[in-house]
Symmetry: C2
């Protein structure tokens, strides 16, 4: 791979609803990465390996996933983008395609990411956005959710907010900000951080929903951070509400 001459960077969007995530370990059946590699390899006539900024879980969406791949060919990126969008299924599209420097690596060079979690808090379920949000009709206190979120901002060991029990690497991450905005019946949570553990955004969201609904006290969030125990954090919020929004590079 490293001996290929050209490095192409892509920004892409996908509806993760029917996919087994960006990449399923040991089984590439119906993954976003698999679809991209299949279509790029076909169009370019060489075996293409796609590197993503990170994995998204089964059912999670992306508005701005970043990925790159190496090729032996000098590529007309405008024409290739058009062609591959014609070949890709309706739920995966390339928004932008550029020639990158040879050292650019989507995952290793990523400095931070923004994830967005969308909650529909209306009395009547939302029909047209039903596959792109978590529907929760009971009252949620935005004030309490914001207060709980403020405990999670900063540098912490998020081991208790991770589904991977056998985690060997460091589970310390920095969350720069958690924004919670209410617009009509929507509650939109935005998480900006230098990295996120497996299921971390969805477990934090589940915890904040439990705080907002009164099932959990604000102080319990601090306790879950200290204990490092998964059982002290909240439920795993559904994947269909989660979007990888943006990946930042230096």
């Amino acid at each position: 791979m490293e001996n290929k001459m050209y490095n192409i960077k892509m920004i892409l969007a996908y509806d993760g609803g029917k996919y087994n995530g960006w990449q399923l370990q040991g089984n590439t059946d119906l993954t976003i990465q698999g679809k991209l590699e299949e279509k790029l390899s076909m169009l370019l006539g060489e075996e293409i390996k796609v590197i993503g900024s990170g994995r998204t879980d089964r059912g999670v969406h992306a508005l701005g996933q970043v990925a790159n791949f190496y090729t032996n060919q000098s590529v007309d990126v405008k024409a290739l983008k058009k062609k591959i969008n014609e070949e890709l299924p309706k739920d995966i599209k390339i928004l932008k395609m550029d020639i990158a420097g040879e050292r650019f690596h989507s995952r290793l060079n990523a400095k931070s990411k923004i994830y967005e979690y969308r909650i529909w808090n209306g009395e009547v379920p939302n029909i047209f956005e039903r596959k792109y949000c978590f529907q929760y009709k009971d009252h949620l206190s935005i004030e309490k959710m914001k207060e709980a979120a403020s405990y999670l901002e900063g540098v912490h060991d998020f081991k208790g907010f991770c589904s991977n029990k056998k985690m060997k690497k460091s589970s310390v991450r920095e969350i720069y900000s958690i924004q919670i905005v209410k617009e009509g019946d929507w509650i939109i949570l935005s998480f900006h951080g230098n990295g996120f553990l497996y299921n971390m955004v969805r477990i934090i969201t589940g915890t904040l929903i439990e705080v907002g609904s009164g099932k959990r006290k604000v102080e319990e969030v601090e306790k879950a951070l200290e204990s490092l125990e998964r059982k002290d954090a909240g439920f795993l919020a559904a994947p269909e509400g989660l979007f990888l929004k943006e990946v930042f590079y230096s």
Copy 2:
């Protein structure tokens, strides 16, 4: 039906994607009306017939369809609305339920309607709205579309803009306004009229798209109005872009 004492009015939304329209003549399999009647009859324990403001075609959506039904029971509309929304599928929901005067009739009393047609005119197809718009990537001249639309406003015989060839009743209708708004890559067409013939909004939309793309001259729209011939109007635009937005009563 007329001897039932209580008349209930509903405003409802639905994703028409998987339904054979509001009502399929001679076959009630998988229609919006059929689903409503099934669930209301079950909950109320009597046979309920639902009257809609009008039919929507197979695959067409509604943001504010109006319907009413008669029942023998004094209904707690707030509780019934909650219950039926729990029973209805995810793509049909009641937004509002009220007790109406006994003479209220969703179809006969309707004074006018607004339909909205959504065109995604972006270079890259829209992933998350793909089931709720018509995707057209080539250039469309909004100015020409507006000019052509102005010919269609007012009182006209819209026989040429109707799919029903054996139409016996009058095909004269009044379109109060056709608004065309461009917002980013969206082009939104709003049709306000006192009534619309079978497929009329979609045929007008198809005609306006052909004018906007340069395939058809603005003046040809006037000709199609005069000739009353279906062949002189444009193509039938896809149902997934169309929404019944609002029904007005005096």
